[in-house]
């Protein structure tokens, strides 16, 4: 009796055991690496932010919240925050506006539109460093492309990358040029996801082109726009190669963003504590954005259900 009940028990347990072992073998390496390369450094950054350390000396000096106070009160860091927000708002708005315009244009039945889409999307695929190198030449005040185009119009272009008033606009131009293909592709997908019947019904009801755009296209693109807003903010936060090649954060600190500040504190200034503070702040931003995104997705799911 005991045996009859007992036999399926251990064998099921054994199968379960095998599942567990196999699970650890298959998913373990991935998880372990996330622990080592993502979660551990996150905590280590927070730890370092309370110490003064130059990466070399054997002792780390505990300084409490001094690093936070220093960073948050220095004018240089205020400029960095401002730059981060300017690049974010400029880059995100321009890529969405232009990307949407391009999508509306290339959603029409035009011969050769596939080739046009390829050309517009190509910059997104290419190395930011190589692209930025090309743009340094384009911005060259004497021999650059912009000078070549603008001077026949009687416009004397500024010395873009060496002029603190024009360096950030220059970075935004390159950022927009590189990323508008991405927003275009997403907007095209969004346009194609709007049911055709809506337009047909509206036309039957006598809605003109503007009304159809205003009341069908715009609301239809709302979820896509939110997605682009979030991914755009994240992408602008992580823009490093363009800034490094175009301006190195300069002139003075006109184009230094949070990520560039982090790099400079860590790998140029060798201030582990301040780099730690910068990464804690950066992570806090990303965390908040992700929370907003999750809440939004939850709401959307509820609506859909």
């Amino acid at each position: 009796m005991a045996q009859a009940i007992g036999t399926p028990g251990p064998s099921r347990l054994k199968r379960e055991w095998r599942d567990w072992l196999l699970f650890v073998a298959l998913a373990g390496p991935n998880l372990l690496m996330f622990g080592i390369f993502n979660y551990r450094p996150l905590l280590y950054n927070a730890y370092l932010s309370f110490y003064e350390w130059d990466f070399l000396s054997p002792v780390k000096i505990p300084v409490g919240f001094d690093n936070y106070v220093d960073v948050l009160t220095e004018p240089h860091f205020h400029q960095v925050l401002k730059n981060t927000l300017v690049l974010m708002s400029g880059g995100v708005c321009l890529t969405i506006a232009i990307g949407l315009g391009l999508a509306l244009l290339l959603n029409q039945k035009l011969a050769g539109r596939d080739a046009a889409r390829s050309v517009l999307f190509a910059p997104y695929m290419l190395s930011g460093a190589a692209i930025a190198v090309v743009w340094v030449y384009i911005f060259d005040p004497t021999y650059g492309l912009l000078r070549t185009i603008l001077s026949p119009l009687g416009i004397v272009p500024p010395n873009w990358l060496r002029d603190s008033a024009w360096a950030m606009p220059a970075v935004i131009i390159v950022y927009t040029w590189k990323n508008l293909g991405y927003t275009m592709v997403i907007c095209l997908a969004g346009l194609q996801a709007i049911p055709r019947e809506l337009y047909e019904a509206a036309t039957t009801d006598g809605a003109n082109a503007w009304q159809r755009f205003r009341h069908i296209t715009i609301p239809g693109l709302a979820p896509i726009t939110f997605f682009l807003l979030v991914t755009g903010i994240l992408a602008s936060f992580q823009t490093f190669d363009l800034i490094h090649v175009l301006t190195r954060g300069g002139p003075v600190d006109a184009t230094s963003t949070l990520i560039y500040y982090l790099y400079e504190q860590g790998f140029v200034g060798f201030r582990a504590g301040r780099a730690g503070v910068a990464s804690v702040i950066q992570f806090a931003f990303l965390f908040i954005i992700t929370l907003v995104q999750l809440r939004y997705i939850e709401r959307r799911v509820t609506y859909a259900g």
Partner: protein, 298 residues
């Protein structure tokens, strides 16, 4: 001509007939405007790439002609060997290719095995594990670059392929995409494989992965782009020219002050971007569809 004048001259009396005739005309005008806009936009946004191409084939003396020429007067290919000799591009190609191929293969393996474990195997708290993997998306590599650098320095992995490759291997996106693909597979096919006596690895390898090919291809291509173009990590983890990747190499080719040989640098930029441009033109349907699908599905 006379008929046109007559038509306009007649004015309002023809008014009633107008709407029927005006529709196609406005449609034609819209179409023409569309074509003009398309050409203008393509020229405007494609211009930097044309400028790059044109300068790469210019002699240094022609670079310094104002106003600049679009089509080189005496096209030359000399900039390409010059760039090749100005920096160890052959080594850059080897490094970038090794790093990209191994990293992307690693990502595919990690994504496939983790997704299989999450979908097909019993384990406690699988949802928490999945959430931890997705949570890693919130921690971009730039934020954790200092601690990871310190770790690799301690392990003596500066200027090594292991150092360049290892942080690329774990993948949250790949796990997410393949998990979705596996969940979408019809249960009957997996049961049939089980009945045929296929073990876990054979089910994954011969049934599930072939059926998820579109996802594998798209994810592989997007990862290739990601790793090939990566900048901050290879910048800090290498400090000798012979271990640099192409993006780092081109940024060092750009000379700091004024005397840049633009033709040579543009040829170097072409060395960096051409392989990805070829991949893109060859597989753009997969890439674009993959990117768009991610957004529309949320």
């Amino acid at each position: 001509m006379a008929t046109l004048e007559q038509a306009t001259g007649q004015g309002q009396s023809v008014g009633q007939a107008r709407p029927a005739r005006r529709m196609p005309l406005s449609a034609i005008l819209t179409k023409v405007a569309g074509y003009i806009a398309m050409v203008v936009v393509v020229l405007l946004i494609g211009m930097p790439l044309l400028w790059l191409l044109s300068a790469a084939f210019k002699e240094t003396s022609e670079i310094y002609i104002v106003p600049a020429t679009w089509i080189p007067r005496e096209p030359t290919i000399q900039n390409f060997p010059r760039a090749w000799n100005a920096a160890p591009f052959a080594q850059y190609y080897v490094n970038t290719t090794i790093v990209t191929v191994v990293s992307v293969l690693g990502k595919l393996v990690m994504g496939a095995t983790t997704a299989y474990a999450l979908v097909m195997l019993r384990f406690p708290c699988k949802n928490v594990i999945f959430a931890l993997i997705l949570g890693a998306l919130m921690i971009p590599p730039q934020v954790v670059v200092v601690p990871n650098y310190l770790l690799f320095a301690d392990l003596g992995l500066i200027n090594t392929y292991t150092g360049l490759i290892l942080p690329h291997i774990p993948t949250a996106v790949g796990t997410f995409l393949l998990r979705q693909a596996f969940l979408a597979l019809p249960r009957e096919i997996l049961d049939a494989a089980r009945v045929d006596g296929a073990g876990h690895m054979r089910t994954l390898w011969t049934v599930m992965l072939p059926l998820s090919m579109p996802v594998l291809v798209t994810f592989g291509l997007l990862s290739t782009q990601d790793v090939w173009n990566d900048f901050l990590w290879p910048l800090v983890i290498t400090n000798t020219a012979n271990m640099r990747t192409l993006p780092i190499g081109i940024s060092f080719l750009l000379d700091g002050e004024g005397n840049t040989q633009w033709g040579v640098v543009m040829a170097g930029a072409l060395y960096v971007i051409t392989p990805l441009l070829v991949v893109f033109l060859w597989a753009q349907r997969h890439i674009v569809e993959g990117i768009a699908a991610g957004a529309v599905k949320g």
